[in-house]
């Protein structure tokens, strides 16, 4: 079992704040620093300094860290054409020495597209684009050096691409696919993903959510054991009740509701919640971490939760 730190910079964060969290996460021994890929705040509240670009952020952090893995949960297919996306991620992979992972999804947030001149096709088109981009990005990465790659789809076409640059990881950085789908995304995950992530699933539903992917793997002759099953959950930890509640509120959460389902409460409570996910088959838990300016919070998770999880696994 591994723990990863997962941030939501569109709620308002500078690159400097994210770098500090990523370096803290590396120093404390977390497995990865992930971020969302959005350009505009979700929900009410002050936008603060705004968002940053996900892959620029990760590429820069790659040069400031040595060990920690870096990735997105998840990059929407609408933001980048598939060719430039494959190039950016391959370059970040080189810059990090083979430490990046690409989460890819259909996108949903119409507002941020309108706000930054990004076309937002229909739902059906975006899911079709997701399928094509998975094929293209992985196809470009695994094309042998010296050969070319071509693809003809309804949304994207590629003619005689040199399929360069190549990522460091081969056949390519791990692809993460997530969500609550029962048919379409499980089928795509079985075909393209190294990891399937159930975002914010209750413990009681985690295994069932992953079962769709296990079935989709079996349907195409892939051993489900080759898929990594992970979950994302919000985190708020305190050495006492007051501290936990203050951090939950600072994370935009209702403390009681959070305690019922998320990684919330005292360190022991959070360790137990993570173990519950582990018992249901989760191999990694992404802790959605909101308190970017509260380094003591990250320190507490890193010293009082993480060692108990990693030591037991």
């Amino acid at each position: 079992m591994q723990l990863r730190i997962f941030t939501e910079p569109q709620q308002g964060a500078t690159y400097g704040q994210l770098l500090a969290v990523a370096q803290g996460a590396e120093r404390l021994g977390f497995d990865a620093f992930f971020r969302s890929d959005h350009y505009q705040r979700i929900g009410e509240g002050s936008p603060g300094p705004g968002s940053t670009d996900a892959w620029m952020t990760l590429a820069a952090i790659a040069r400031e860290t040595d060990r920690i893995r870096l990735g997105t949960l998840v990059t929407p297919v609408t933001f980048r054409f598939p060719g430039p996306l494959a190039i950016q991620v391959a370059q970040a992979d080189e810059m990090s020495g083979g430490r990046v992972e690409l989460g890819l999804g259909a996108g949903w947030y119409d507002g941020e597209h309108a706000a930054y001149a990004i076309p937002f096709p229909s739902t059906g088109d975006r899911f079709a684009m997701l399928e094509e981009q998975l094929e293209i990005v992985t196809g470009l990465w695994k094309t042998p050096i010296g050969e070319t790659y071509s693809f003809a789809g309804a949304h994207h076409s590629i003619v005689d691409s040199p399929a360069l640059p190549k990522p460091v990881q081969q056949p390519g950085p791990p692809i993460v696919i997530g969500g609550w789908g029962t048919k379409r995304t499980p089928r795509l995950a079985a075909r393209y993903a190294a990891e399937f992530n159930m975002p914010f699933a209750p413990v009681s539903y985690f295994r069932e959510g992953c079962d769709h992917v296990r079935a989709a793997c079996e349907a195409i002759g892939r051993d489900p054991a080759t898929m990594k099953f992970t979950v994302a959950t919000v985190v708020s930890v305190g050495t006492n009740e007051e501290e936990f509640r203050r951090r939950a509120v600072a994370s935009g959460q209702d403390p009681d509701q959070m305690r019922a389902g998320a990684a919330a409460g005292t360190p022991d409570e959070v360790v137990e919640r993570i173990r519950e996910f582990e018992r249901e088959g989760a191999e990694t838990v992404y802790l959605q971490y909101h308190t970017l300016d509260d380094p003591d919070h990250l320190e507490l998770i890193g010293t009082e939760v993480l060692p108990k999880i990693v030591a037991a696994s």
Partner: protein, 302 residues
């Protein structure tokens, strides 16, 4: 135009014999869906207590028909422990040979809760209960063992055997609450139903459901969307069917001429409805049903 038609047969002021003859006729007329409701009292909010029990009627429906999908719209999360309903549905699916659809909702007819001493919580509480309920039932119907520790329900290595004939017995969520109900549907449901709202309102709610799905990383096309509508060729007939609720349901009623009905069905289908379900109650106007099947259904399908 591609759409499936169904009939939702209310269980008040009728008998199993009356229903069985009606269900057979509905199936013969080419409908694809028949459903029952879950009330102990008549669903007209008058305090009238006359209604047949749901699981029993659902089972009779499954035993009486051969082809149609046998649905429930909707079992209330407040009436039975989810393990009781899951066991009933698993057995019922053998009677139906894999034609069962399990609709679930938060409940609304307070008279019957109050009369029987069933806890009728706040809207938020009933929806939290619904969310726990759907997880418990889904686990019991698909997993070898289910443990659940919630605010309302607790399962400890709970087993429900034998399983339904369907590997994934479809669960539909009923209701139009945009913030919570539709989010629950996006997370857990295979289908969604809402009664008696006009096409433009239905279209809006379907969009909200789609948005929840997209945000959760789920293709909205995975959820079968449906609407329950009244059907009456005259206002008099509508008043007779729905009593004092007739005005409330009227925006979601197919009424007037055949052409008007065809247009209204088309508006739902254009907005994404896979099923248009006629919500009827006794005394059943069989002539209107025959006319609908003979004149409206073929016109929609061309």
């Amino acid at each position: 135009m591609k759409v499936r038609f169904g009939v939702h047969t209310g269980l008040q002021h009728t008998s199993i014999d009356d229903l069985r003859s009606l269900w057979r006729r509905i199936e013969a007329l080419g409908f694809d869906w028949i459903s029952i409701w879950d009330h102990f009292y008549a669903a007209d909010a008058t305090g009238d207590p006359h209604s047949l029990e749901a699981i029993t009627a659902h089972t009779a429906l499954a035993a009486t028909t051969e082809r149609v999908t046998c649905g429930s719209l909707v079992y209330s999360a407040g009436y039975r422990h989810p393990a009781v309903l899951a066991n009933a549905m698993a057995t019922l699916d053998q009677v139906a040979h894999g034609r069962t659809v399990l609709g679930l909702g938060g409940g609304w007819l307070q008279d019957e809760y109050d009369a029987y001493g069933l806890h009728y919580g706040s809207p938020g509480e009933r929806l939290r209960m619904l969310e726990e309920y759907v997880q418990c039932v889904r686990g019991l119907l698909t997993q070898p063992r289910t443990s659940f520790d919630g605010e309302f329900f607790h399962l400890r290595d709970a087993q429900c055997e034998p399983k339904p004939e369907q590997a994934r017995l479809p669960i539909w969520i009923g209701g139009g609450g945009e913030k919570v109900t539709l989010r629950i549907a996006a997370q857990y449901a295979d289908g969604w139903n809402v009664p008696f709202i006009p096409p433009e309102v239905w279209a809006h709610k379907a969009d909200v459901l789609d948005a929840h799905c997209e945000r959760l990383g789920r293709d909205p096309a995975e959820i079968t969307k449906s609407v329950n509508v009244g059907m009456a060729f005259t206002e008099e007939e509508l008043r007779r069917q729905f009593g004092r609720m007739w005005k409330a349901v009227e925006p979601g009623v197919l009424s007037g001429s055949v052409a008007e009905m065809v247009d209204k069905v088309g508006a739902y289908v254009d907005a994404g409805a896979a099923y248009v379900i006629l919500a009827l109650r006794a005394p059943f106007d069989r002539d209107a049903l025959e006319r609908f099947a003979a004149e409206v259904m073929p016109a929609v399908r061309t």
